[in-house]
Amino acid sequence: MSYIIKGDTGDWEVVIGLEVHAQVISAAKLFSGASTSFGADPNANVAFVDAAMPGMLPVINETCVEQAVRTGLGLKAKINRRSVFARKNYFYADLPQGYQISQFDQPIVGEGTIVLDMPDGSSRSVGIERLHLEQDAGKSIHDIHPTKSFIDLNRAGVALMEIVSKPDMRSPDEAGAYLKKLRSILRYLGTCDGNMEEGNMRCDANVSVRPVGSNELRTRCEIKNVNSVRFVMQAIEYEAKRHIDVYENGGKIDQETRLYDSAKGETRTMRSKEFAHDYRYFPDPDLLPLEFDEAFVDAIRVKLPELPDEKKDRFMKEYGLSSYDAGVLVAEKENADFFEKVAKLSGDGKLANNWVSNNLFSVLNAKNLTIDQSPISAENLARLIALIKNNTISGRLAKDVFEIMLESGHDPEKIVEERGMKQITDTGAIEKAVDDLLAANPDKVAQIKAGKEALIGWFVGQVMKATQGKANPAMCQELLKKKLAQ
C-alpha cells in the first residue's frame, strides 16, 4: 500500500524521518536530585544546579542511564559502552545554564530497528539512527502578563531520550504507526509514559519528497514539536503537498524549521536557515565520559520484559489468534495483560479475544475508559465465558449478562443465579412450551409439513420468547423437529 501523491508532473513519494523526545521515567532529574513529579507548584522542583547557580555542577543520575540502555535494548540497538555528554549552547530564558547538556557525536545508543504492524496486516521495518540522553528546558509562560514572561524551571533538567529514526518512512500512516509502536515499546519497558498530550513524548518530523522511482534525498524541512500522532500525520501530509507544489512551480525548498498550526492545518516557517543556531557543541568539561561495562548492560538485559513483538508472536502461537487480533491486543501492555488473564482463567483464548477485543473494547472506547477503569474485571469476564462454555447460559443471554455486569460490576454467576437466567435444559419444560405452540398454530404446522421448513426458526423464536430466552435453542430445535416429524 504505497502512498503516492499525484502531482501535475508525475507521481511523488514522501520521505519521513522522526525525532522523538521521550521523557525518561525517573524520580529525579538527569543531573540533579530534584523531583520530576508532574503538577508541582511552579519552581518547586528546582535544585541549585537546575537554576544554574554559580559554581553548581551536574552529576549523572544512574537511573536515567539504565533507562536509556533499557530502551536501547528494547529497540534492538547497539549500546555504546562509552558515550560523551556535550554542551549545546544557546540563549533562552528557560535555559538557565545557557546550554543544554546533551550528547552529540558519541550517543549512548546507536543503530536499532522498530517493526511496524500496518493495518492491512503487513509489517515494515524502520531503522533507528541513535538514541541519546539530554536535559529538558524549563517552561516560558507568556500569557500571564502583558509585557512580562514567567519562567517555570520544574522541567529544567528532566531527562529526555532523543530517539532519531532513519528516513525510512514513506507515508503519514507509517509515521503514525511508528509513533504508536515506539510509544508501545517505551511503555512496555517502563522508560517513558509516552503521553504526547501531556508533553512527555514530543515529535519533530523531517519531511522531504522525491519523484517515485528516485533514490535522491531532497532538502528536508523539520516540523517542530507536534503534540499528537494525528497532528504529526496531518502535518506530514500538508508538508509533502507543499513541497510538491513548490517543485512543480519551479521553486526550491529551503532547509528550515517549521511549526504545525493544528487549527489551520498548515505548517509555517519558524526559523529559516540564515537564522539557524550555531550550537557550538563541545564535550562538557564538568562530566567525565559515560562508561559502563558489559555486566551493567547484561543486568538490564536479563530484566527486560516481554516486548510487543514477542508477545504478539506468543499470542498467535499460544491462543491461536490472528496476526491482526494479536497486534491489537499487544499494542497496549495493560490490554494484553487483561486479555491474557481472561484467556488463562477461562481456558479459551479465542472466546477471550472475542469478548475483550470486540465487546469490552467497544464499550471502553465509547465511554472513553482505559482498561484499568474497566467496570468488568478480568476474573468476572472469564467467569462469563465459563458459563457459556458449560452451557449454563446461551450466547444471547451472555450478552444480556455482560450488559448487567457493565452496570453493576457484579459476578456473572451471581447475576445468572439471582435473575434466574439459567438456560432451561429441562426437556419437560421445553416440551410443554413446544406442545402449546404447536397446538395453537396448526396452520403453520401444516405449512412446515408442506415443505416450508424455514418456519421451524419461527417456532424456535416463539419458544425462546415464551421462556424469556432461557430455553436452550439447540434443544428447542431438536424437539420441534421430532414433534413435527411425528
Binding site: 554559580p54 540563549f91 567525565l288
Partner: protein, 487 residues
C-alpha cells in the same frame, strides 16, 4: 603583646593549643591588621562579626578539648568560592550583591576543620587576568615595593587579593584557584608559597567556574608547611563534582622533612628562551644548585611542545569560559539591565556586567567553538593539549620533579601601560603547561631581584604526587631563607 599575625599556621596552632592566646585574640589581631591595610584593597568583603563568632566557637572547642585540625586559624577566601550568606562576586559587576545559599565544598571543609573566615578576597574578574587589574572592585596592590621607590606594584593574578593578604599578614593563609597560573604567579609576585594540586584533588563544587577542565583550588601560605596543612584540609573526594578524584592524598605535613636525597630533578630547556630575564635565570640556576647540594641529581630534560602551551590554553580556557559564563544573563540572579525584549535584556546586562577582558575571552571562546572553526581551533588545541600532557608523562619517566621559574619577571608596576593583552598572557608562559597537563605545581619564594622584589621558583611533579612536590618545595624554602615582610 606580640603581633599575633606574624605566626605561621603551624605556630599559631601550637600557641592556641597551649592556650598562649585565644582564637578570638588571634582573629581580632587579623581584623585590626585588615583595617590597617585597606589601601591594599585585598578584601572585597570583610566579615569581622562572622569571624569573631566563629573564633569564639573555636575557643569553646579548644576549651573542651575538641579542637579540630585548623581550629581558630583566620583565613581569607578568594571571592570565587561561594560562601553561604556572604556575598560572592567573582570580581565581577554581574554578580554584585549575589549572596549564595550554599557553601563551596573546599570552604566548607576549611570551616569544618575549625578555621575562621575573615572575608572574601579580591581577584581578577572571573579569575581572568594576571594582575588583578580586571577586578570590578578595583585592583589590589602588592604589599612589596621596589627598593627606594613608592610606585604601586601588581600582586599578580588572578588570586592577587589572596597573595597580597597572605604576604601582608592580613590573613594567616588564603584559598586561591589556579586555571593557568592564578595561584603560582601571584604567589611569586608577593613572595609567598602557592600550591596548585593535581586537577581533581579539590572539589570544584561551589567555585564559580572559569574553565572547568583547568580550574583547581589550592592554598596560598607563608610557608611550605602551612601549604601542606591547608591542602590536607582542602582536598578529598566530592560526589558532587564528577571530576573530583576518589584517590586519597595522604598527609602532606608528614611528607615534609624527607628531603630530596636521591631524587632526580629535571630542568626543561624550553623554559629558558632567548632573552629570559637574567636575574630569573640566575635564581633558577641557584635553585638547581640548592637541590643538588641537598642530594638530588639535576638533569636536563626537554618538553618539546611547551611553545604551543600558551596558544593552546588561550583556545581551551576561553572556549569553556564562553559557555560557563552564559548563565550570567540577568534572568535569575545578579545584575539585570532591563530591555524591551529578552535579547535586548541579555545584551544590555552582559554589556554592562562584564569587563573588557571577560568580554574578549567570551568572544574568543565563542569564535573557536563556532561551526567551521571548531576543528581548526578547539579540536586542534585538544590534540596539542594531549601532546603537552604526554611531554610531562615522558619526562616523569626520567625525573621525579621539574624545576622552573614561576614567572618570567618580578611584579610589574600597576601603572605600567600594558595595552597588548598577549604581553599580559606571557606572564603565564611557565605555569600554563602544567595546568593543561593537570599536574601539581607549586611556587616557592626563592629570592629577591636587584630591585628587592620577590622571585619564585616553580616545582612540578607527576599527577597525584603532591608528596614529592612538597619535599622539593621545602628544600628550596629552607635553602632560600626568604625574608618575610614581617621578619
Amino acid at each position: 603583646m606580640t603581633d599575633l599575625t606574624r605566626f605561621t599556621i603551624a605556630q599559631a596552632r601550637e600557641h592556641l593549643r597551649k592556650k598562649d592566646f585565644t582564637a578570638l585574640e588571634l582573629t581580632d589581631a587579623y581584623i585590626k591588621a585588615i583595617e590597617g591595610h585597606r589601601d591594599l584593597n585585598a578584601y572585597i568583603v570583610e566579615t569581622p562579626d562572622l569571624a569573631r563568632e566563629r573564633a569564639k566557637e573555636s575557643d569553646y572547642r579548644i576549651k573542651t578539648g575538641d579542637a579540630k585540625y585548623l581550629e581558630g586559624i583566620p583565613l581569607g577566601i578568594k571571592d570565587l568560592f561561594c560562601t553561604e550568606g556572604v556575598q560572592t562576586t567573582a570580581g565581577s559587576q554581574i554578580l554584585k550583591g549575589f549572596v549564595p545559599q550554599y557553601e563551596s565544598t573546599v570552604s566548607q571543609r576549611l570551616r569544618d576543620a575549625g578555621s575562621v573566615m575573615l572575608g572574601k578576597l579580591n581577584l581578577d574578574e572571573f579569575a581572568m587576568g594576571s594582575s588583578n587589574k580586571t577586578s570590578f572592585y578595583g585592583n589590589v596592590k602588592n604589599p612589596w615595593k621596589a627598593k627606594g621607590k613608592n610606585d604601586d606594584l601588581a600582586p599578580g593574578g588572578s588570586s592577587g587579593g589572596s597573595a597580597a593578604a597572605v604576604s601582608a599578614h592580613i590573613a594567616a593563609a588564603a584559598t586561591g584557584t589556579d586555571t593557568g597560573g592564578s595561584i603560582r604567579q601571584p604567589a611569586a609576585f608577593c613572595g609567598i608559597v602557592g600550591v596548585k594540586p593535581t586537577y581533581g584533588r579539590c572539589s570544584r563544587w561551589g567555585i564559580v567556574a572559569f574553565a572547568s577542565s583547568l580550574d583547581q583550588a589550592g592554598p596560598m601560605t607563608r610557608t611550605v608547611r602551612d601549604a601542606a596543612i591547608m591542602l590536607n584540609a582542602m582536598v578529598g573526594h566530592d560526589p558532587k563534582d564528577s571530576t573530583s578524584s576518589p584517590l586519597p592524598m595522604g598527609d602532606m605535613e608528614a611528607a615534609l622533612g624527607k628531603g630530596v636525597k636521591g631524587l632526580k630533578i629535571g630542568i626543561p630547556k624550553e623554559y629558558r628562551p632567548d632573552g629570559l630575564n637574567a636575574e630569573v635565570n640566575a635564581l633558577w640556576d641557584k635553585g638547581a644548585a640548592w637541590l643538588k647540594a641537598a642530594g638530588a641529581e639535576v638533569v636536563d630534560i626537554s618538553l618539546p611542545h611547551t611553545k604551543y602551551a600558551l596558544p593552546t590554553y588561550y583556545i581551551v580556557a576561553p572556549a569553556e569560559a564562553s559557555s560557563n559564563l552564559a548563565r550570567y544573563d540577568g534572568v535569575r540572579y545578579g545584575l539585570r539591565v532591563p530591555g524591551n525584549s529578552l535579547d535586548e535584556m541579555y545584551a544590555k546586562t552582559r554589556a554592562a556586567g562584564f569587563g573588557a577582558e571577560v568580554k574578549r575571552r567570551i568572544l574568543i571562546g565563542t569564535y573557536v567553538l563556532s561551526a567551521g572553526y571548531y576543528d581548526a581551533y578547539y579540536l586542534k588545541a585538544q590534540k596539542v593539549r594531549a601532546l603537552i600532557a604526554q611531554d610531562f608523562e615522558q619526562a616523569f619517566q626520567k625525573v621525579d620533579a621539574i624545576l622552573t621559574p614561576t614567572a618570567p619577571t618580578a611584579a610589574f608596576g600597576l601603572n605600567d601601560k600594558i595595552t597588548d593583552p598577549v604581553a599580559m598572557y606571557l606572564n603565564d608562559v611557565f605555569t600554563v603547561p602544567a595546568s593543561l597537563a593537570g599536574i601539581p605545581g607549586s611556587s616557592v619564594p626563592a629570592g629577591l631581584n636587584s630591585d628587592g622584589l620577590p622571585l619564585g621558583l616553580q616545582v612540578l611533579t607527576k599527577r597525584w604526587d603532591e608528596e614529592t612536590l612538597f619535599r622539593v618545595s621545602q628544600v628550596l624554602e629552607d635553602a632560600a631563607q626568604f625574608p618575610s615582610l614581617k621578619g
